[in-house]
């Protein structure tokens, strides 16, 4: 019932949004977005509560939410709700500035609901094939959101996103089919579920399992944004509207990572844990290194945040690559990253609306023009770079603590890169926030800052105290890694 409700809600909201035809219907579009996100939030929390109580929550053998899925559902409904709320104010401001018109607003909300639906579907389906379809659907639903402003550079970003991700996901599809081989050989002809595949994974030929996992890692790793398959990500994140960048970075990357983790379990059952761990560590460390150097020399603050996402996906990969306590920290890192990156992208949206530029050198003295946004952006910066007492400090420290014993060289390189990221971020953010600016202070609307404040509150609260229910979910979710 709950799963049906959480899947139907964005679908119905999308259909109803299509029906809104007149410019006066802007209020209806906003109402639909907020109402849908409230329903999704309540249902998402109820699903997570059911998973805490029973270990999983299923629907007719077609959908099932386990502990890992519940964590992702919680992130999605939280970030999704704040993004939907923030979007109403953001788009209203863009309409007022005549950047976009009513039809574009309607297109935005229709696609936003479909994007959320695809992500819910990907998380909850029991079938790897349907998961692939849903993740491909996220590409299709967001391509028009990336080209939203119809500028040549936005069109180029969307085209690159569509082609690179489609090719990547096709390779992931090939890996998926290879993993299905033992289940089909065993005479299984129904809907191949993760559980069925896990039951047969031990009989998978080790060589095929290794090839399949490499295909999956390259395929879904493209969607995760891991280096060297990351080239679509900075363009897409910087050209999309800021709330969409927030969802792309804060949630879509996690959903793709979920696919990698599901297949990792299958590969581990076939060839042991060390193979997948080494691959995750390889992609993780090169993602951190490449992102760190580019962050240091970055000139565009939205691309800066995009490269930061690549870096953090690398850190999460390292966490699951190291395994054990680092895997726990990796999943916790995923939660903190989603919250912190959403804070940063939404704050960046306010900065972009006021300064009309994404170039760092053209944004000076935000603290004197947008004081609340500046504080929120600073908090996001401190959180994302792992400054204590924010949770990312703890998770990075935990991952490094595990890694230094088993992979000391990789860990030391990662530490160097993380330091470079902090220095790079600091030199960009200080100039943006504190330099002199003759502009007068702009009155910040509640709808543009309250959703970010709520995310900041959740981030700080989770940094100092992890509720037992969430701790239980993370422990259960990472016990197999």
């Amino acid at each position: 019932m709950l799963i049906t409700l959480i899947l139907i809600t964005p679908f119905v909201a999308s259909l109803l949004s299509i029906l809104v035809q007149k410019k006066e219907g802007m209020g209806i579009l906003n109402f639909l977005a907020i109402a849908a996100s409230v329903v999704e939030f309540i249902v998402g929390v109820a699903i997570a509560a059911a998973v805490v109580k029973n270990g999983s929550y299923s629907l007719d053998g077609l959908f099932s939410v386990d502990a890992l899925g519940a964590i992702l559902v919680l992130i999605l409904v939280t970030v999704g709700a704040m993004v939907s709320w923030y979007s109403t104010g953001y788009l209203k401001a863009e309409v007022a500035k005549e950047i976009i018109g009513f039809h574009r607003v309607r297109q935005y909300f229709v696609l936003l609901h479909l994007f959320l639906l695809a992500m819910f579907f990907a998380i909850m389906t029991v079938s790897p094939i349907f998961m692939w379809i849903a993740i491909e659907a996220t590409t299709l639903s967001t391509a028009f959101l990336i080209s939203f402003y119809h500028k040549p550079s936005a069109l180029e970003a969307a085209w690159k996103y569509l082609i690179i991700n489609s090719v990547g996901l096709l390779l992931g599809f090939l890996g998926t089919l290879l993993f299905l081989y033992p289940a089909i050989q065993a005479g299984f002809r129904g809907l191949s579920s993760w559980q069925a595949l896990l039951g047969q994974a031990a009989s998978l030929d080790p060589a095929i399992a290794k090839i399949a996992f490499i295909f999956v890692m390259v395929g879904y790793g493209t969607k995760v944004g891991l280096v060297p398959m990351h080239t679509w990500l900075p363009d897409a994140h910087s050209k999309a509207p800021s709330p969409i960048s927030s969802l792309l970075s804060g949630m879509l990357l996690n959903v793709a990572f979920l696919a990698v983790l599901r297949f990792k379990q299958l590969a581990d059952a076939a060839v042991g844990v060390s193979f997948s761990q080494n691959i995750l560590i390889f992609f993780g460390i090169i993602s951190i290194i490449v992102a760190a150097f580019i962050i240091f020399g970055q000139k565009n603050y939205k691309r800066l945040l995009a490269y930061s996402s690549i870096e953090h996906m690398g850190i999460i990969s390292l966490g699951f690559g190291f395994g054990g306590a680092a895997a726990f920290a990796g999943l916790l890192h995923m939660i903190y990253h989603s919250l912190a990156k959403s804070i940063l992208f939404l704050s960046a949206g306010n900065i972009l609306l006021t300064f009309s530029s994404t170039k760092i050198k053209k944004v000076k003295g935000v603290i004197s023009v947008l004081p609340v946004t500046a504080v929120l952006f600073m908090i996001g910066f401190l959180a994302i770079t792992g400054v204590p007492p924010f949770g990312i400090f703890i998770t990075e420290f935990s991952i490094v603590s595990v890694g230094i014993h088993t992979y000391p060289v990789v860990t030391i390189i990662a530490l160097f890169a993380l330091t470079l990221v902090f220095v790079g971020f600091l030199r960009h953010v200080v100039g943006m926030i504190f330099a002199d600016n003759p502009k007068t202070m702009v009155k910040e609307k509640a709808v543009s800052i309250v959703p970010i404040m709520i995310l900041v509150f959740i981030l700080i609260a989770l940094s100092v105290f992890i509720p037992p229910a969430i701790h239980t979910l993370i422990t259960a979710a990472t016990s197999a890694y």
């Binding site: 028009f144 550079s153 191949s192």
Partner: protein
């Protein structure tokens, strides 16, 4: 686009030739997905043609940041 669709066809052919075909539900889902992809890619191709006056995507490499 032709390259992506060729890869798609090759993978599906591989799946059938090795007995990895799926239940009807997932197969319909995959067909729907590919059909939708073709529609969206075609829309993008027409947008690129309108914007750049050519389907040669190499012209996009000369774009500079705004």
């Amino acid at each position: 686009m032709v390259g992506v669709l060729s890869l798609e066809n090759a993978i599906v052919s591989f799946a059938f030739s090795t007995g990895l075909e799926q239940a009807p539900g997932p197969q319909l889902g995959i067909i729907f997905e590919i059909a939708l992809w073709v529609v969206i890619a075609t829309v993008f191709a027409s947008m690129i043609y309108q914007q750049f006056g050519s389907l040669n995507v190499a012209t996009m490499a000369e774009l500079k940041e705004d």
